[in-house]
């Protein structure tokens, strides 16, 4: 297949994935009653608003939404940094070294992500209340740190790192922390980015948990501010879509920023 054919195929697929979001984007630029008008018969107006308005975005700026976005960013970024460190260290312990009982510890990791978080959130919230973590950033961040899936992911990639590399480094006098920090982490950037995104999304979409631990307005997160735009009797769809575009664009920028790490790997860092 030629490159042009690939581009064509990938463009069709990319557009198919983007189409629902494009519709949400165009809806966010429409006035309230206009949103559902063009869904029954396809025309250019289905995707392009006739008289686009930024009123919905203006309305976002006045409410609690801005503060909630900043809160979400804080919670998600702290989770990513701390969570990656914890998970990568654990994955290192499960892959670079061999010891008795490793299987059992790995089983704990696997088991921990089989348990649906929404189901254990209720007893966990009771514990957090006893520990005085209600309505605090710590209360929002902590549940994101115990992420078995991220550990499992990193372990899978760490297993691919050649053992003689470690051996050589050890003979050169590098300690285990050095092996972890100077060999494993730099060699696993694509996996770290993926794991980081996983941790990020977990917090970015956090919805039931903040409500359970009684988060007040000052610590409110983005998804809750978004849900609060639904009135009890009516929904302002224009504002809802505008809020969702904001909530989608931020991860988009982050993914774009870290894209280049996808192409950096063992193969391209000159280690053979």
């Amino acid at each position: 297949m030629s490159r042009r054919l690939y581009t064509l195929l990938a463009t069709v697929i990319g557009l198919a994935f983007a189409l629902p979001l494009l519709w949400a984007l165009s809806s966010s630029l429409r006035g309230g009653s206009e949103i559902f008008q063009h869904i029954s018969r396809l025309s250019w107006e289905t995707l392009v608003p006739a008289s686009p308005t930024l009123a919905n975005y203006g309305a976002l700026a006045t409410g609690a939404f801005g503060r909630a976005i900043l809160n979400s960013l804080l919670v998600a970024l702290v989770t990513v940094v701390a969570g990656l460190l914890i998970s990568a260290a654990a994955a290192f312990g499960l892959s670079a070294l061999r010891f008795r009982g490793q299987g059992a510890l790995f089983a704990i990791v696997v088991l921990s992500f089989l348990i649906p978080f929404d189901a254990i959130a209720i007893p966990l919230a009771t514990l957090f209340r006893d520990w005085d973590l209600t309505n605090t950033y710590a209360g929002l961040i902590l549940p994101g740190l115990g992420h078995g899936l991220a550990i499992f992911l990193l372990r899978q990639f760490f297993l691919a790192i050649p053992g003689d590399l470690v051996e050589a480094a050890r003979i050169d006098g590098l300690g285990w922390f050095g092996v972890f920090g100077r060999i494993y982490l730099p060699l696993s950037r694509p996996a770290l980015v993926s794991a980081g995104l996983t941790l990020f999304i977990f917090q970015w979409q956090s919805y039931v948990w903040p409500l359970l631990i009684g988060t007040g307005t000052d610590h409110q997160l983005g998804p809750i501010a978004l849900a609060n735009m639904r009135g009890q009797f009516t929904i302002d769809y224009g504002q809802l879509f505008a809020g969702s575009i904001v909530l989608t664009v931020i991860p988009l920028l982050i993914i774009l920023r870290f894209q280049r790490h996808f192409t950096q790997s063992i193969a391209t860092t000159g280690l053979k």
């Binding site: 009653s33 809160n71 970024l77 309505n135 605090t136 009684g214 000052d218 009890q232 009797f233 009516t234």
Partner: protein, 422 residues
């Protein structure tokens, strides 16, 4: 890298700022509900003006998570909730679990102050557990343009000339055939018990719950089956749309696609704001030969027994429910009906004039319905389970399930769910 560092430090500052604020003092009352903070700002301002030094901290919880959030936090005896909004049919279940403080010493005062259908809903096992703040009613909105094009005379707003469902459907059919209407008749809360209870009730089929302890399902009565058969045919015959959720129904009317729309007073404001839409309001229909029944009920407020500020909480409730001025303030920012009789009388003219000529008659209907046709949802400890099962039942019937077998299945499911209660 520099940018991310800048961002991190910004967030750190924010975190530091956030930690310092928000501590609740002895004179700060925390109040939880599903409404936009703007809705309650007038009543909070009014109360704070009368009680210098007192602050009400309101937190909004998304509507779809309100009941579960309250349930979990109240069960954990979370004392950071003082006052909260209570969905009226849930009063029994909340009271039974001990999630509401006893307000029985206010019985007589509430009876005197509230609209007729608004006292009972707050009582359970002979005690008063919450105070009524809002109530509701349903109207029949019609699109004047579509009816005119079809040559149909619109219904009168006079409660004495209330239309039947049969007549409404027939007129809607004509609007579809000759007036260019896409849909004949849409009930706003298209799969909700709140709205659909009125159908079997009108045919004498009952609420669906019976027994001295209100824990026996009665869903297979003749009235229920007849009402649900009518409801299924509404969708099967293309008079109303399938696959459109409760929140997407009113935009259809606003876009001028619907001849008749059964909706609440909150729609008066929305429809009034729509340009180029000519509409009117009439009483909510009933079945030919049946009873006139209209949906009612809304929100009460209650006090968390674990709250450390009981006295202050009671003062706030007193102001918002028993003081007509305070009760009226709860409706200032959102067109919903106050449950306090005196506030209600002041409110009626404002609703009537809300959308000018179009909404004329709404006030009269409201007054008549409150006194004559309003039937509240059943008071049962098992209402929560019941409502969940009924929502799914209505959805299936709407999508074409056989009404009789589906209602039988619902009755079995309710029985199983209620067996778990004990």
């Amino acid at each position: 890298m520099k940018k991310s560092l800048a961002l991190m430090s910004l967030l750190a500052v924010l975190a530091a700022a956030g930690c310092g604020s928000g501590d609740a003092g002895a004179n700060t009352l925390s109040f939880l509900g599903p409404e936009d903070p703007k809705t309650f700002q007038p009543v909070i301002d009014g109360f704070e003006a009368e009680h210098p030094g007192v602050r009400i901290a309101y937190t909004q919880i998304p509507f779809d998570q309100l009941n579960s959030t309250l349930q979990q936090r109240l069960a954990a005896e979370d004392e950071t909730i003082d006052v909260y909004t209570v969905d009226q049919p849930r009063v029994s279940a909340l009271a039974a679990r001990g999630f509401l403080a006893d307000l029985s010493d206010w019985k007589d005062r509430v009876k005197q102050a509230a609209l007729p259908a608004q006292y009972d809903v707050n009582e359970f096992r002979g005690k008063l557990w919450s105070v009524p703040i809002w109530t509701s009613d349903q109207f029949l909105f019609y699109n004047k343009t579509l009816l005119k094009q079809a040559g149909v005379t619109p219904p009168s707003s006079d409660p004495a000339e209330r239309w039947t469902w049969e007549r409404t459907v027939e007129a809607g059919r004509q609007a579809q055939a000759r007036g260019g209407a896409q849909w004949a008749l849409i009930p706003e809360q298209i799969e909700q018990y709140y709205q659909l209870q009125s159908l079997p009730e009108s045919l004498g089929g009952g609420s669906g719950i019976t027994g001295t302890d209100m824990l026996t399902p009665a869903l297979t009565t003749e009235g229920w089956i007849k009402a649900m058969t009518w409801y299924r045919d509404l969708f099967a015959g293309g008079l109303a749309p399938r696959g459109v959720g409760s929140f997407q129904t009113s935009p259809l009317f606003t876009e001028g696609k619907v001849a008749f729309f059964a909706g609440g007073p909150w729609d008066v404001g929305t429809f009034g704001a729509a340009k180029d839409l000519d509409w009117g309001v009439a009483p909510y229909p009933y079945f030919e030969g049946g009873k006139q029944v209209t949906p009612t009920g809304s929100w009460s407020w209650g006090i968390n027994p674990a709250s450390k500020r009981q006295r202050l909480a009671r003062e706030f409730l007193e102001y918002a429910a028993l003081n007509p001025e305070g009760n009226l303030l709860t409706t200032k920012a959102s067109p919903i009906i106050p449950a306090n009789r005196a506030a209600f009388e002041k409110y009626v003219p404002t609703l009537d004039a809300l959308a000018g000529e179009k909404s004329r008659g709404a006030g009269e209907i409201l007054t008549y319905d409150a006194d004559h046709t309003a039937v509240a949802r059943p008071r049962s400890v098992g209402y929560i389970q019941f409502e969940d099962i009924m929502t799914k039942t209505f959805a299936d019937i709407r999508n074409g399930a056989d009404p009789k077998t589906r209602l039988e299945q619902a009755a079995r499911e309710v029985t199983t769910a209620w067996a778990q209660l004990r």
